[in-house]
């Protein structure tokens, strides 16, 4: 039902105009003294993920402001595009920023489908891209590139961490349930891999089409299979409904439910009592007591009159990573190889803890084990210290 339009011709025109403008601009830039660094923020500012886009933007700008509002000594100019979480519009939107606005750095986005399209455009144009959320494994796997970085997580990381914890708790059998799409498959895949490596067995992998929320038949199957634990990947409205249905079916009394952190992030208000005691894994959580996090939380709530969440942290770290890179080349984006090298070697002091990057430019960080207490996802321990998922298929 989405409106379609013929964008081919317009795209071509923009591209030609963009190349022409680009030639003129780069000639001019060589003469001018230290022009502004152009940063393209391509994030969702409307729709379901609007709040995430805003949190990422806030976190990003906070880190920049803390370092004097500059990158490598150069002033900054922001170009913003609302990607509407629409993969169909993603190539066009990314091209707008790269070809029309001539951004030096592209930052985005939340939705994995959009991020995959962005990473393709960024690779084709050799534009520096920093991804502050989208977790598709492929971006830092087979599709990895020297100019593409990620400061958030990859989908399989949360599953890997939870699988390990459950195996350590001597759980023998597990059933997994997820929406049938890339993020869910990758998360469940990670769980299966580490759970079975630790001696457990995934007895059944259930899935339903995205974004269906009729779970009753799956709950009946889980009850019949009686596994030691159930691992799920759901987010938003689906996460609320699943957790409530699971409790209403009485399953939470006999079979523990665990999941990737998104199961209980931003949803606790709606889940109420049904979520109490649930264990989840994520790279951030409530009550994380380190100096950087405390300072970050204070600065964020002062600047934006709101509490930061994991998305704000990811945006903050995207900016921190760029600061390291740009400082290393003193703002000279032409020295791309040195810039990339500095970013690859960066050891960031993130609110989540320490943050480094693996060969595929994906985060190496602690994944926390969290327990729902009241309206908080309390960090109760480290599930995996410095988790690095193998950059499968990455040729860097």
């Amino acid at each position: 039902m989405k409106a379609t339009r013929n964008i081919g011709r317009r795209c071509g025109a923009i591209a030609v105009a963009g190349i022409a403008a680009g030639l003129l601009l780069s000639a001019g830039a060589a003469l001018a003294q230290q022009p502004k660094v152009k940063i393209g923020l391509m994030l969702p500012y409307t729709g379901t993920f609007a709040a995430l886009g805003t949190a990422i933007t806030n976190g990003f700008k906070l880190a920049i402001d803390e370092s004097g509002g500059k990158l490598g000594g150069r002033e900054i100019e922001y170009y913003t595009v609302d990607d509407e979480s629409d993969p169909a519009k993603a190539p066009d939107n990314a091209n707008k920023l790269i070809k029309r606005d001539q951004v030096d750095v592209l930052v985005g986005t939340v939705h994995s489908g959009v991020a995959l399209a962005m990473s393709k455009v960024a690779r084709d144009n050799n534009t520096l891209l920093v991804i502050p959320n989208a977790g598709a494994d492929d971006i830092t796997g087979p599709l990895c590139a020297a100019n593409v970085f990620r400061t958030s997580f990859s989908n399989s990381q949360m599953g890997i961490a939870m699988g390990k914890v459950m195996a350590e708790q001597k759980k023998k059998t597990a059933v997994t349930l997820t929406w049938k799409y890339a993020a869910g498959d990758e998360s469940v895949g990670g769980f299966k891999e580490s759970f079975e490596a630790g001696g457990g067995k995934v007895v059944k992998e259930l899935s339903l089409p995205f974004p269906q929320v009729e779970f009753q038949s799956y709950l009946t199957e889980i009850a019949a299979l009686k596994p030691d634990v159930v691992y799920v990947f759901f987010a938003g409205g689906g996460a609320v409904k699943f957790v409530k249905d699971y409790a209403a079916a009485g399953l939470n009394k006999t079979i523990p439910l665990v999941g990737a952190g998104f199961l209980t992030d931003g949803t606790l208000e709606a889940q109420g009592d049904a979520a109490q005691g649930l264990l989840t894994t994520l790279h951030y959580g409530d009550g994380l007591n380190n100096p950087k996090n405390n300072a970050f939380r204070a600065a964020y709530s002062k600047a934006y009159k709101a509490e930061p969440d994991v998305y704000a942290v990811q945006g903050y770290d995207a900016a921190q990573l760029l600061i390291v890179g740009m400082n290393a080349v003193k703002g000279d984006t032409a020295k791309r190889a040195d810039l990339v090298k500095a970013m690859e070697a960066a050891k960031l002091d993130s609110p989540r803890g320490s943050l480094a990057l693996n060969k595929g430019h994906n985060p190496i960080h602690d994944i926390y084990l969290r327990k729902v207490e009241g309206k908080e996802n309390k960090v109760i321990g480290v599930a995996v210290k410095d988790l690095t998922d193998p950059p499968r298929g990455c040729k860097l």
């Binding site: 009946t220 009850a223 019949a224 409205g237 609320v240 079916a249 006999t254 109420g272």
Partner: protein
């Protein structure tokens, strides 16, 4: 699968089917009987769910919220029919599609402005907030059984209204020939306005009563829209029993599709629709009037 699981899955299927009927019942009236293509049906469902959330947190009682919500949605229906839909009865279906699609966008934006984009839960009323143990591990929430009972009662009431009352006769007559009915001296405009309002109220009612189990979130309306049209089309346009039978069939197909052929869970319902429409292009039950 043992016999016990089979029975429980059967219950799941029937229960889901009844819920589908509840959600689609308003569309049976507006699309099935009045013949207006109303894509905003899902929005009315969404509005109902959000009303349940807001009114229940204001009044502290879901049932009070439902009564107030039904009154409000009847008013909304009357206003919409008077201001917009009444102008389109004689026009092309495409224009009805455009109008109601526009309404989806308007209502989503209003929802975002007024209530925001967060996910909300609605508490199950205390009377029904318990479960019946079925096996050692599985219990069945009583609220779901209550919902099923409401759906059955509603199906009965709708049948009586459309097929056994004078008003129902007028509605059916109006659906087959508007001009003739007004020539006979009946105020067909008023009848249509009321039926449209009833359709809106039914959709909102479905949203309200389903809110405790479905939770309340952006985009929930568009999720139910397509399945509602499937129910009405399979059932045979304009037939209450047809819609009920179709809803049950879809509920069972969906449930057993998920259990028996999980790889194809997404398409079982639409396969069923294709088969039924090949077998009976008019739907399972014939058109009224």
């Amino acid at each position: 699968m043992d016999i016990y699981s089979l029975l429980i899955q059967l219950l799941n299927g029937v229960q889901y089917g009844l819920l589908l009927f509840l959600v689609a019942s308003g569309l049976t009236l507006i699309f099935g009987i009045m013949g207006i293509i109303n894509l905003a049906h899902g929005s009315f469902y969404m509005i109902g769910a959000y009303m349940a959330f807001t009114l229940a947190s204001l009044t502290g009682n879901l049932f009070v919220a439902i009564v107030v919500g039904v009154v409000l949605s009847v008013l909304l229906g009357i206003v919409l029919e008077w201001a917009l839909f009444s102008r389109l009865y004689k026009r092309d279906h495409l224009e009805q599609v455009l109008l109601s699609y526009g309404l989806i966008l308007v209502f989503e934006e209003l929802r975002s402005l007024i209530v925001g984009n967060d996910v909300h839960g609605v508490a199950v009323p205390a009377v029904f907030n318990w479960s019946i143990p079925l096996t050692s591990t599985l219990s069945y929430p009583v609220y779901r059984l209550f919902m099923s009972a409401v759906c059955l009662a509603l199906a009965g009431l709708l049948y009586v209204l459309i097929h056994r009352t004078r008003v129902g006769m007028m509605i059916r007559a109006g659906a087959s020939n508007r001009e003739m009915v007004s020539l006979l001296g009946l105020n067909i405009n008023l009848v249509y306005r009321l039926v449209f309002a009833l359709g809106v109220a039914l959709a909102a009612f479905a949203g309200m009563i389903a809110a405790p189990v479905s939770s309340v979130y952006p985009g929930m309306g568009t999720q139910v829209l397509i399945i509602c049209f499937v129910v009405v089309v399979i059932g045979g346009i304009g037939s209450i029993w047809g819609a009920l039978a179709a809803a049950l069939l879809i509920g069972l197909a969906d449930t057993f599709g998920k259990v028996l052929i999980p790889e194809a869970a997404g398409v079982t319902v639409y396969l069923l629709m294709a088969v039924i429409l090949l077998w009976r292009p008019e739907g399972m039950f014939k058109r009224v009037g």
